[in-house]
């Protein structure tokens, strides 16, 4: 069995793949966080009014995914109980050591941002409800009930400032994840300075696509009409970021091939034998080119809202799948080539195990459940359901 999985010569210690599907999930989830946050700042910072209906919803989405972002890493540790050492004794030359801090910082920003943008609702709820609900919302309001015009105005100003800090930190959070891979000079498939920015672009793309899907789903469930202006504007941004994303991804692969260093043979083999389908097929064609064409058509077409809705939904589904394939191709692909540069190996996912598909699935479903809970406490629906003025 093992013979078929290994081609050529791999170092004896490499027969096992160290980073499994959980580590694929980790950059995927942080990517969705960063993307959703940046989508919300299109409204909060850049004042894109069209995005307003989903701006607060996007923040809640970012929070729900952020809360589980740490999990896949933790579950995968050999000694999870020592994981906290990353916070206490970070070894600063390691790209991984800052994770705890960046994560906490970012979490603080997202929570504050949500608090500020929901404060008026929270206070109103606290004032109008009784019993445990009153307690819940009062404590959420931190027992400060000032919602005068001026206070709200201050809130908004502060929220905007926060969002301005939020953008670079979202970019940093995810660019940094890219650097965890890009900084490994031992691995020719990872070691590229483009990695952080590629990760960031694909993160934004996946976050916007996820937001589109969640928005459509929420409106269908709540049986409310979709604000096509908002949807198409999101689709438009998705399209723009897709262009940036594909440019960088192609640039990376073209320059690798053009430079043709010592490792090019093994990279070519990786691309043809190992991840050919997931790279060219899923990541590039399904995940980028098809959505690109569909979204282009959406922006050229007049009226026909239902058709456009379908095209946007399909594009978003493809994008979300394509970005997952991209994470897969990086994390798993990079480990399927031997550092001896003379052989390849194959990752066979297992279902039931600490690092198996099952925990990955559970971790991936969690944010949706969290989102359900959070939106029931802080409903963002009124933004989506009020008539566009």
């Amino acid at each position: 069995m093992l013979e078929n999985l290994i081609w050529g010569y791999v170092y004896p210690n490499e027969s096992e793949i160290q980073w499994s599907i959980l580590i694929v999930l980790y950059p995927y989830i942080t990517g969705l966080v960063a993307g959703a946050f940046i989508a919300s700042s299109l409204y909060h910072v850049f004042g894109k009014k069209e995005i307003k209906p989903v701006a607060r919803f996007a923040l809640l989405t970012a929070l729900s995914f952020l809360l589980v972002a740490m999990l896949p890493l933790l579950v995968h540790l050999g000694r999870p109980e020592r994981g906290i050492e990353i916070m206490f004794t970070p070894h600063l030359t390691s790209a991984m050591s800052g994770f705890g801090y960046i994560f906490s910082f970012y979490l603080t920003i997202v929570v504050l941002e949500i608090w500020l943008s929901f404060r008026e609702d929270i206070v109103n709820k606290a004032l109008s409800s009784h019993g445990w609900k009153e307690l819940l919302y009062s404590s959420l309001a931190l027992f400060s009930f000032d919602i005068s015009e001026k206070a709200l105005h201050d809130d908004e100003k502060f929220a905007r400032k926060l969002a301005i800090i939020g953008i670079p930190s979202a970019a940093f959070l995810h660019g940094y994840v890219g650097f965890i891979f890009g900084g490994i000079k031992a691995n020719p498939w990872w070691s590229t300075p483009l990695m952080p920015i590629i990760f960031l672009m694909s993160a934004i793309v996946s976050g916007i696509a996820l937001l589109i899907l969640l928005y459509i789903a929420a409106m269908k469930i709540r049986k409310h009409v979709i604000d096509h202006k908002c949807l198409q504007s999101l689709a438009h941004y998705l399209w723009i970021f897709l262009i940036l994303d594909v440019t960088l991804e192609l640039l990376e692969i073209v320059s690798m091939k053009y430079a043709s260093r010592e490792d090019i043979d093994i990279i070519n083999r990786l691309l043809s034998d190992k991840i050919g389908f997931t790279f060219y097929g899923v990541q590039l064609t399904l995940g980028i080119f098809i959505p690109f064409v569909l979204l282009l058509m959406v922006s050229l077409m007049k009226n026909r809202e239902t058709l456009k809705l379908y095209m946007i939904s399909i594009s978003s589904i493809f994008v979300v799948i394509g970005v997952f394939a991209m994470r897969w191709n990086v994390v798993i692909g990079g480990q399927e080539i031997s550092k001896s540069l003379s052989g390849t190996l194959t990752y066979v996912p297992v279902f039931f195990s600490q690092e198996g598909v099952l925990p990955a699935l559970i971790i991936f479903i969690l944010p949706f459940i969290i989102l359900l809970v959070v939106t029931s406490i802080l409903p963002p629906w009124k933004d989506m359901e009020e008539e566009p003025s």
Partner: protein
């Protein structure tokens, strides 16, 4: 007392700031990688006085695998798992030369070479063949040390790269970072693991088990600070090469007679 909203924001900010500086203080109280700062507790051994180096003379290796076997026994590396602190690679360059002079090289290391090697390619098809013993290079600029998020992997003052098993969180970043495949995951401890140059032996004046076991003298170990050591002499007199020198890892395993195929 009536707390206004503005006060609240202020208090909130204060809490955040003090929490942040609090962690910084806590952090400075902990010493990083405790083992990294304490010399081995061996009567009389001074780690400032040594700097260890390792020489592999590939021309002498006969591929018997005794070193790899001795290593597994000495360091209790499981025999039934595919994990190795040292192993032997066999390179066979085949005669089939085509017009472009491209050579076909067959590389293998069945079970790390512990059981030796069998001839599965007829001798008349092979142009040239040789063995290359491999081991952790105890790099002086070690990427595994660089990438460890908690400082559990460190280089000792006498030049040995070690893992602090009490500290390692088992993230396996170092396994990804080592360009030589020298590290593995210790499933029993839940931590990373690798060759220690038999640190428990060398600090008592003994040789690493692999060096001791080699019947041909293909593996040599010694003190680079000692001008009379065999390793230092070889360094001074022979032409030596390193594995993957372009990565800037500054290995301290020095090779004699390395062929261009070897990576």
């Amino acid at each position: 007392m009536d707390i206004t909203r503005r006060d609240f924001t202020k208090i909130g900010c204060k809490i955040i700031i003090s929490a942040a500086s609090g962690t910084a203080i806590v952090q400075s109280m902990f010493t990083k990688g405790i083992a990294a700062e304490n010399p081995p507790e061996n009567g009389g051994y001074d780690w400032e006085k040594h700097f260890w180096g390792y020489v592999v003379d590939t021309r002498k290796c006969i591929g018997c695998g005794r070193c790899a076997n001795a290593c597994k026994m000495e360091n209790k590396v499981p025999f039934d798992e595919e994990v190795y602190r040292t192993w032997i690679e066999r390179y066979r360059v085949k005669k089939t030369i085509n017009e472009t002079f491209e050579e076909e090289v067959v590389i293998d290391s069945p079970d790390g070479g512990i059981e030796g090697f069998v001839d599965d390619i007829p001798a008349e098809e092979v142009k040239k063949a040789f063995y290359v013993p491999k081991i952790c290079n105890h790099c002086d600029n070690a990427p595994c040390v660089q990438v460890c998020p908690v400082g559990a992997t460190y280089e000792t003052k006498d030049g040995v790269v070690l893992v602090d098993y009490e500290y390692c969180i088992g993230c396996r970043y170092c396994i990804q970072g080592c360009p030589y495949g020298a590290r593995y995951f210790n499933t029993e401890k839940g931590t990373a693991d690798k060759c220690t140059w038999c640190y428990h032996r060398i600090t008592k004046g003994l040789l690493p088990a692999c060096v001791q076991a080699c019947p041909t003298g293909a593996r040599k170990f010694g003190d680079l600070k000692d001008n009379k050591s065999e390793v230092k002499k070889i360094m001074d007199e022979e032409r030596i090469t390193l594995l993957k020198p372009d990565l800037g890892t500054k290995p301290k395993v020095f090779y004699i007679g390395l062929d261009r195929e070897v990576k």
